[in-house]
Amino acid sequence: MAQIEVIGLTRSFGELRAVDDVSFTVPGGILTGFVGGNGAGKTTTMRLIMGLLAAHGGEVRWGDEPMTTQVRRRIGYMPEERGLYPKQKVLDQLVYLGELSGMTAADAKASVLEHLDRFGLRERASERVEKLSLGNQQRVQIIAALMTTPDALILDEPFSGLDPSAVDSMADLLREHASRGIPVLFSSHQLDLVERLCDRLVVLAHGRVVATGTVEELRGRGPELYRLTLGGDAGWVRDVDGIHVHDVDGSTALVEPDDDSARQALLRAALERGDVVDFARQVPALSDIYREVTA
């Protein structure tokens, strides 16, 4: 299956190292989320992948080959700052972009109309782009990236500015394309969204990759924590062997067992002492992990 591989990518602007030795892969068939704060280097990395900027070091590979212009032409790309001709009609504009990608005018038109239908924009086809709302302009932009049935998708903040139902239809669309086996990389600063949608994450901070992996893998990076809620005071937990206590607050304790047997011993001890209201694995939210890795 096709995949995009980024190896040691580096790019400076004057003194600033915007992207510093960045390596990760975007496997085919799944959605890869690209996360990082403002100025972390997401947009620069995506531009480097698309060949809009020349790398000062490192390379981008397409499967086993170096990335070429021919391959890039088959990648659906959506830049962060939305680019469309404001005064041109929606249909004309999209057909033009399709033709530049190598489609015939007829194929491009058919594909555009199909996508406009899907987003409920069919009747706006002959309107100028500047007449559309920002959300609808964004939909048009996405169509520009998807209409060619691309071999990969690189989308910079595709969800920003969309209402919840548009986010859902956009997410469905991205999954649909990923299920064709193509690599899909999209950046976002909406962590809840990324957590819900992504199969894989690449976290960037200050131009460097600070974490990669599935959401589960990232969560697994932290300590395995359990929350124990009792009928009475939980202070005694501090004295149990093999248990590292992170926090005790009245009847609730946040603990990190050394191993499985220590965990089971803790639960048995609690049951012997009285009422156990709750005992559960404490899964950190992605935002917690994000704060931790980018700190």
Binding site: R47, M50, L52, P79, E81, G83, L97, G102
Partner: protein
């Protein structure tokens, strides 16, 4: 297999322009102006003015007939009708009530033309000529000789060593018109091109386009599209002008013009292409539409310079500049029109112009490529040249 990307870009440039109301209105407006100017010329030229000349004696009537002959031969579309009056009083009354324009009578040893308020200049000059010739003939005959014998050897003719006088005048007028057209086309289309480049830059659509096609293809398409449009617009103006000219008295110069117009066309294409690439660079150096005015100032100067060089230079300067791009784009076809440059001069100038255009295209492509994705403010040429891709 689909078309080469630059043809797609060029097609969009053309279609966008042809559906732009401002462009269509300004083109239409200029056509109306050209047609209007020539129409007025033609109307003035073809208008026949008629004067009624009244006389009250047989001698005056014979003289008036001579005036009629001279007036009609003058080519000024002058027509004279004759009225014979029974006496001076009747003739005077005819002038007063407007049934006649002029009363011609003999007075002592001369002639008098009497009008109500004035006597039209063209009629006066026709009358003067007719009366002088007639009187000279009569006087010569009385002296036993002829006018021809008297005036033999006094004729003054003019001649010009290079070509003829008429042609030089026409060359000047047509050259001015063509220089004006070149200036208009390269300025208006150049500015529009720079603006469309900065529009793509500002809206960032250029990021999408350049992931699909090479920057050179984009540049080539934009220049080609505008060249086709400029050329079509100019051809329209020239066609309207030439058709209009056939309705005026100047139509006799058409054959002399047409050959040089061919050279003008060739030089126009290459010269416009050279300047258009530079305009595209001016657009790429800017980030916002407001910047274009600054980044394009040197080009505005250059375009104006070419225009004024075409109008004002003479002698050696003109000959030298007619080989120097981009001045040669208009000066050489003008010299061919004047007949002061031969076909091989034109070929040499064209070769130099093509060579310069090729260099400019390469440099422009580099500048365009490197500044197109820089969106932090205005760039200088030096910055753009040394910016890594």
């Amino acid at each position: 297999m689909t078309a080469a990307p630059w043809t797609t870009v060029a097609r969009r440039e053309i279609v966008t322009k042809l559906t732009d109301r401002t462009f269509l209105l300004s083109t239409f407006g200029l056509v109306v102006i050209i047609a209007g100017v020539l129409g007025v010329q033609a109307w003035l030229g073809s208008r026949t003015t008629e004067y009624a000349v009244v006389t009250s004696s047989a001698a005056a009537h014979r003289m008036a007939e001579k005036v009629e002959t001279v007036a009609e031969a003058s080519g000024d579309n002058l027509q004279v009708t004759l009225q014979a009056a029974a006496g001076d009083g009747v003739a005077k009354a005819a002038i007063e009530d407007g049934t006649a324009d002029v009363w011609l009578r003999e007075d002592g040893d001369g002639w008098v033309l009497t009008g109500r308020e004035d006597v039209a200049a063209e009629l006066r000059s026709a009358a003067t000529t007719a009366i002088r010739d007639a009187t000279l003939d009569a006087n010569a005959e009385a002296a036993g000789t002829t006018v021809d014998a008297l005036t033999r050897g006094s004729e003054v003719r003019t001649s010009v060593l290079d070509g003829d006088a008429d042609r030089a005048g026409v060359a000047k007028a047509v050259g001015f018109a063509l220089a004006m057209l070149f200036y208009l086309a390269s300025f208006t289309f150049g500015l529009a091109l720079a603006n469309s480049v900065v529009e793509e830059k500002a809206s960032r659509i250029v990021e999408i386009i350049t992931t699909k096609i090479a920057v050179r293809q984009l540049l080539a398409g934009k220049v080609a599209g505008n060249l086709v449009l400029a050329f079509a617009q100019m051809a329209l103006f020239v066609a309207v002008g030439l058709v209009g000219l056939t309705f005026t008295d100047y139509d006799r110069f058409l054959p002399a013009i047409s050959g040089a117009v061919g050279w003008f066309v060739v030089f126009f294409v290459v010269g416009f292409g050279l300047l258009a690439c530079l305009w595209a660079v001016a657009g790429a150096l800017a980030t916002r539409t407001e910047d274009v005015q600054t980044t394009s100032t040197p080009l505005t100067m250059l375009t104006l310079g070419v225009f004024f060089a075409a109008l004002l230079t003479t002698g050696t300067t003109k000959v030298v500049l007619s080989f120097v791009p981009p001045f040669s784009a208009i000066l050489m076809p003008m010299r061919v029109l004047e007949g002061t440059a031969s076909w091989w001069h034109a070929l040499v100038a064209l070769a130099i112009l093509v060579g310069a255009a090729a260099l400019v295209v390469r440099a422009a492509a580099r500048l365009y490529q490197r500044s197109l994705l820089q969106t932090q403010g205005r760039l200088t040429v030096r910055q753009a040249w040394s910016t890594p891709e």
